[in-house]
């Protein structure tokens, strides 16, 4: 008899799954028994949240669907933060959860939780499988929904008796999925594309605002060709970093709350804003009424619900970013005269570079700059959330898409370390570095056990300021330096790493930074670097909450 669990494993293999991040438990025993001698590799994490983040990191680094597995009740609930993180950033993962037997559903059985109910707001779709005969179809649909259209997480909940039950054999699995309620639009409307081209042909100060959708759509080459052909400067969101090389002359860097001066000034002055795979998030726009106040707006996105959600749009184009950019390029006959504008924003770049006090103190920005200089774009950089994330976004020069992995929408502390584990399995050929704060790292520090067990060569760079730094920064700037519960006592991270069998090094002098980074990168296995940085360093530029994005603090004023 072919069981549901066996059927599940075969269905996963058909989807090309090579790695699952998971944690066993009672009701997933039948699935784990099938995994025991399966060709699918299973990575045992130390907490289910890490399984979800690792699947997410795997997906971001590879562009394929990441998979995690947890038992019912607490196991499934522990996945939720990871699923929500993937949902906010449109990352394709399939989360498999065990469930109590169907006869006990709704009975408050041991380790029962209504995980499809709980995850409804944070999944693209989810399934509670009621009999083993549905497994083939559900798994196929789950992967299809996760990776197509606007990608996102899908959860499949499998009661124990479904895993042990008999699946019908010999029923062919359909080659394609067709869902009458789900038919994404990939090609942009030709009339809208021509309207956009008319605006592009006449604009004097156009600006591209590119987001994570460019990376998800694998459209970096098309975007580069588009901005070069049309001679349009580009700014990217946090999620869009790497979509255009950081050192490209037309690239103004990141915009928004911690955006560069040149990017934020360009948004405020442009007469045409071309939003590509971006969603006018509040961290990008600041005060929405004063965002791009002089600009006509073209918005390209695969999700029609994002268009017009936060900002009125002049030319909406619903479609896959890559397909729409190809159409724009093939139909473009005339470009605007943007020479003066390009020169002007270029001069802002030299006039208002990023700035920190580069003295003899060990400052976090310096650590990131040195790492950037050593790797030269040839590595995958994962971050935690907070100051570490913003310094990395600003001071690391990303050269390629999918080399920057961060929790943008949800802002999940503790995301980076497990996501780095996932990224390693997606791209074992690349060095993977998690840039962390001492606060974030301690949120999933137990994964030292995982990297030790499997000798996963993830390097953790802790910018240790013994504070919850970003919250402290806000307290300094907006709450009279009343550091309410943001100070963390010193932790000997090297000793903790060593206790797990992981190498580590503490760095206290600026002069030792480069050597330490090289030592870690040259080590075969995992490595923890504890940089004791200036404690009250701030992330600048900064747009205070509710201000217009050209009203930055911590910068040289024009």
């Amino acid at each position: 008899m072919k069981t549901g669990a066996r059927t599940l494993i075969e269905a996963l293999q058909r989807e090309g799954v090579d790695t699952i991040f998971g944690y066993p438990g009672g009701v997933v025993l039948p699935i784990y028994d099938e995994l025991y001698d399966s060709s699918i590799r299973h990575i045992l994490v130390r907490h289910e949240q890490a399984a979800a983040h690792a699947a997410d990191g795997y997906a971001r680094a590879s562009g394929r669907v990441g998979v995690c597995l947890a038992t019912s009740g607490p196991g499934a609930c522990n996945l939720v933060t990871g699923i929500a993180t993937a949902y906010m950033d449109s990352i394709p993962i399939v989360a498999l959860t065990g469930q109590v037997p169907t006869a006990l559903l709704g009975n408050d059985a041991f380790q029962e939780s209504d995980i499809t109910g709980i995850t409804m707001p944070v999944t693209k779709h989810n399934y509670l499988v009621k009999n083993a005969g549905e497994i083939d179809r559900v798994v196929q649909e789950a992967f299809y929904i996760a990776r197509t259209g606007r990608p996102g997480p899908v959860l499949v909940d499998l009661p124990k008796d479904v895993s042990t039950g008999a699946a019908q054999e010999g029923r062919p699995v359909p080659e394609t999925v067709s869902l009458r309620g789900y038919q994404p639009t990939y090609q942009g409307h030709v009339r809208q594309i021509d309207k956009a081209l008319d605006l592009i042909a006449t604009a004097e100060r156009p600006l591209v605002y590119a987001g994570g959708g460019v990376v998800l759509s694998e459209a970096s080459a098309e975007l580069l060709q588009f901005i070069e052909t049309a001679a349009i400067p580009v700014t990217t969101t946090l999620m869009g970093l790497g979509a255009v090389p950081g050192d490209h002359p037309l690239n103004l860097g990141m915009l928004g709350m911690h955006g560069t001066q040149s990017a934020n000034y360009a948004v405020t002055e442009c007469d045409l804003l071309i939003a590509i795979g971006a969603r006018f998030d509040d961290r990008v726009t600041g005060k929405i009424d004063t965002f791009a106040p002089n600009a006509a707006i073209i918005h390209i996105d695969i999700d029609p619900a994002e268009i017009g959600k936060n900002k009125k749009v002049d030319v909406p184009i619903v479609g896959d970013v890559k397909a729409v950019l190809q159409a724009l390029l093939s139909r473009m006959q005339k470009r605007g005269d943007t020479a003066n504008w390009v020169a002007r924003v270029g001069s802002w770049k030299t006039q208002y570079p990023l700035y920190y006090r580069n003295d003899d103190r060990l400052r976090p920005q310096y650590v990131v700059e040195q790492l950037s200089d050593i790797l030269k774009g040839e590595g995958i950089i994962v971050s935690e959330v907070g100051q570490n994330q913003m310094w990395t976004a600003l001071y690391y020069c990303f050269k390629k898409p999918r080399t920057w992995i961060t929790s943008g929408g949800l802002g999940t502390m503790g995301y980076g370390f497990p996501a780095a584990i996932g990224a390693h399995y997606a791209r074992p050929d690349m060095p993977v570095i998690d840039i962390a704060g001492d606060g974030s790292f301690q949120m999933n520090i137990q994964e030292l056990g995982t990297v030790a067990q499997y000798d996963i060569p993830v390097k953790v760079v802790i910018l240790n300021n013994m504070y919850l730094g970003m919250v402290r920064q806000w307290q300094e700037l907006f709450y009279d330096r009343r550091y309410s519960y943001t100070e963390l006592p010193p932790v000997d991270f090297v000793k903790i790493a060593n206790a797990y069998g992981v190498e580590g090094l503490r760095v206290e002098e600026k002069a030792d930074v480069r050597e330490a980074l090289k030592t870690a990168l040259a080590t075969d296995g995992p490595f923890v670097l504890d940089f004791r940085v200036e404690r009250e360093e701030n992330v600048f530029p900064m747009v205070p909450a509710g201000a217009a994005i050209n009203e930055m603090i911590g910068v040289r004023q024009p």
């Binding site: 409804m120 707001p121 779709h125 009458r180 309620g181 029609p304 619900a305 017009g308 959600k309």
Partner: protein, 167 residues
């Protein structure tokens, strides 16, 4: 702010109603009424939702509803010619002779039916658009409404046009 009547064609599956209703509440959309039941297609249901909001809000409501995998089609009937009906059951106090006679007279004018007669109460069944039911309720309030239940609005396009899965 204006009421919009949305006709939502969905897969007839467990949990669909909670997906739709949950999405409305977490995005802060106001539901005035919601009615759900089977429709002409065996595997589908039709949900009629009345929402309140300006055009931008209603556009978001429709787009977000459409994003749900189990939702097949969403139409705003407000912008088109449609028939809209609601049904109410009203249990009204009718103890004295004169009151009872008056209530029966009002019922007659509204073409409401008496579906239950007790010694102290009458139960009226009325169908119509929302305004008609509101008007009847207002008139009956003087006699004492003991209980009232409304189905929520349901609606169909007039003429040969239909709200169908285009896929």
């Amino acid at each position: 702010m204006k009421s919009h009547t949305l006709s939502v064609l969905v897969e007839n599956r467990a949990g669909v109603l909670s997906r739709v209703a949950g999405m409305f509440s977490r995005r802060g959309f106001n539901i005035e009424s919601l009615a759900v039941g089977p429709c002409e297609e065996p595997n589908m249901s039709r949900i009629t939702i009345v929402v309140n909001g300006d055009d931008g809000v209603v556009e978001q409501v429709m787009k977000q509803t459409n994003k749900l995998i189990d939702v097949i089609k969403v139409s705003d009937l407000t912008k088109r010619e449609s028939v809209e009906r609601e049904l109410a059951l009203i249990k009204v106090a009718a103890e004295g002779g004169p009151a009872r006679a008056e209530i029966l007279q009002i019922a007659d004018i509204f073409r409401a039916q008496v579906v239950d007669v007790g010694s102290k109460t009458l139960v009226l069944q009325v169908t119509g658009d929302t305004e008609k039911i509101d008007a009847l309720e207002k008139l009956l309030r003087q006699y004492g409404i003991k209980e009232l239940v409304r189905t929520g609005k349901i609606a169909l396009l007039r003429g040969a046009k239909t709200v169908k899965s285009s896929k």
